[in-house]
Subunit: 349 residues, 2 copies
DNA sequence: CGTTGGCACTCAATTCTACCGAGTGCCAAC
DNA sequence: GTTGGCACTCGGTAGAATTGAGTGCCAACG
């Protein structure tokens, strides 16, 4: 399930049972209270049955090994990214409250509409479930094949190229000509485009006519504008939900600003989520994802697939001290449901 | 240009010249410093050439008349919403820095791509120019006519209805049938739909076939799903830029959260902007727009039209103490440029 | 020898106090 | 009507004292 990134050297392997319990207690309490946690409260927590003094001596070890840190002498301990990592890796996967399960069930039983709408609403759902900012990424259609293209005349010099893909995506492109195209020329161009492009993908090369008549020019122009789609992005779409939670969950204006700034850049979000997935992680904590402005964040991702093919992902963004168990459960359930929703009976793939 | 909302009773009409100068000085300085401003600094400002004592006595009047407020005894004065309103109404319209003018010119000379892309980028531009959050609203296509509809077969039971509108909008709808439709049936339905819907708008009623064969069912289903588009919204689109500025510009987590919460709800943003336009305002200050959570905000709007028809608006959202002159100038120029961009030569209406 | 209670020590956070000064309101004089 | 003078208010700041949670160390215990 959750794996450790290869970059972490993991010196000395696992911690002994007692250290583990102590670390876990520290993390759990700090997540709960956002405060440094001291030896006494750890000693009193279940799973730990030694005296505060013993806890203290173990904590210096944990600190030396990099799992804990002290904001200043004579304060309690706070988990480091490495500490959170251990915690997450050893988390027995939780389960959502039945109320929430019901909410999710209800939601997926009732959503209808276009894929985009469903994804958008899903991102809202996910952020409502967790009180964190959610991201839903749908991967591009660069390998989907074209089901239909149509050139529609707006006026004599402006046409609209509408392409329908096998994954249900529809994209449009403006095509401008420097001559007046007749209705017949546009229809003919449309017919030729269909013949040319049907069942191809955006990656395939096609043979365009080299003649210089109006129809051929329209065809050439259309193909070029369509194939120009690729480089920008792969056509991924991102839906972000609950960005207002950023303000609740992080302290410090500067952090909030930086995080919002990141979320504004859709391309960055796509890359971030993809990177984490590529690393084989389900959670990226602190600096594990390498985005400096997000160093005080944790990002949870869960892949979504359609017919066994990776088709996107859902994600959650919170502080490093986020409620991992609940958030992981929510992301997991939602990604599963999404996978099922688009796999099974459904009004549109 | 800037008009006063009818709700304001405007008691005693305009202020005498001296009161006006004093009020203006207070507003200007408070916008600059975010601090209560005292009699001395007002007295020293240009446009005011009386002693602090005189300023003080004028200020008690202004306070009594509701233009100024005192956070507490022995602090300076702060403008009220009414004070800002007066300031804005008497603002001689400013002009952008030439660097900014250049930036805008550059931008509109170089943008290309679909309308949506242009609008999205415009909202980014506007927020960069002003350091406030920007909103770009494109009004719906409920009165646009249909240029083309096409039913594309995804698999035997799922079709995709793609409609192209005269304003360049393309929308898709999934159509599900409870029977297996042949390729011929889908083509025939597509043909009939075209005959039926061409040149109609979403508001027009059309006569659907009442037969029970596959083709007629497909046609009926398609028309119904297409006309169901209307009620939700009018198909407006909203593009929000620079939401991270919210964090810089407002103080207090709670305010930031509330504002972000509003921005998340696109429908609300559309309504807000529309309401303000309908009131004939170009700026709504504090509670003038009636959205309680935005009572510490000012919203600037500027309409955009295409061929004389209202087609949307651009907006800016900042604190009540925002830099009105600059922001108004930026919103004005951008809305003009946008109007021109979509009015004149252009690769797509 | 690992565990524990005891204890002195540290240091951020809090509280209190004094004080400063920006700003006001009032008034008498110009 | 305007102005300078003056007493007064009150938020903000600075410093000192206090508090208390928490540590590290150590000696004693099982």
């Amino acid at each position: 399930m959750a794996r450790r990134t290869t970059k972490i050297i993991d010196p000395g392997g696992d911690l002994d049972a007692r250290k583990a319990s102590i670390l876990e207690a520290v993390v759990a309490e700090h997540i709960d209270t956002a405060q440094p946690v001291g030896s006494t409260s750890v000693a009193h927590s279940r799973d730990v049955s030694v005296s505060p003094a013993t806890v203290r001596s173990e904590m210096v070890t944990l600190e030396r090994e990099g799992y804990l840190a002290q904001p200043h002498t004579s304060a309690g301990r706070v988990p480091t990214d490495k500490g959170y990592r251990y915690f997450v890796d050893h988390l027995k996967s939780g389960v959502m409250s039945s109320a929430q399960q019901h909410q999710v069930g209800e939601f997926f039983a009732n959503v209808r509409g276009e894929v985009e709408d469903v994804l958008e609403q899903t991102s809202t759902l996910l952020s409502q479930l967790t009180n964190y900012t959610s991201m839903v990424v749908a991967s591009g259609h660069s390998h989907a094949t074209i089901l239909s293209v149509q050139l529609v005349s707006m006026d004599a010099r402006h046409q609209l190229l509408v392409s329908v893909f096998s994954d249900g995506a529809v994209i449009k492109h403006g095509v401008t000509s420097d001559f007046d195209a007749t209705y017949e020329e546009v229809s003919e161009a449309s017919r030729q485009l269909n013949a040319l492009l049907l069942a191809t993908s955006l990656e395939s090369r096609v043979q365009v006519p080299s003649r210089h008549d109006h129809v051929a020019t329209l065809v050439r122009e259309s193909v070029s504008v369509l194939h120009a789609e690729k480089p920008t992005t792969d056509g991924e779409q991102v839906f972000i939900g609950g960005s207002s939670h950023v303000a609740e969950v992080f302290d410090g204006v500067e952090t909030v600003r930086k995080v919002l700034g990141i979320l504004e850049q859709e391309l960055l979000v796509v890359t971030l989520v993809q990177d984490i997935l590529d690393q084989g992680l389900s959670v990226a904590i602190g600096s594990e994802h390498g985005y400096e402005p997000l160093s005080s964040c944790a990002v949870i991702v869960a892949p979504v697939s359609i017919d066994g093919e990776p088709a996107g992902a859902v994600g959650l963004l919170g502080p490093t001290r986020m409620k991992y168990r609940e958030a992981l459960a929510a992301a997991g359930v939602v990604s599963q449901q999404l996978t099922r929703h688009f796999g099974g009976e459904d009004d549109l793939a």
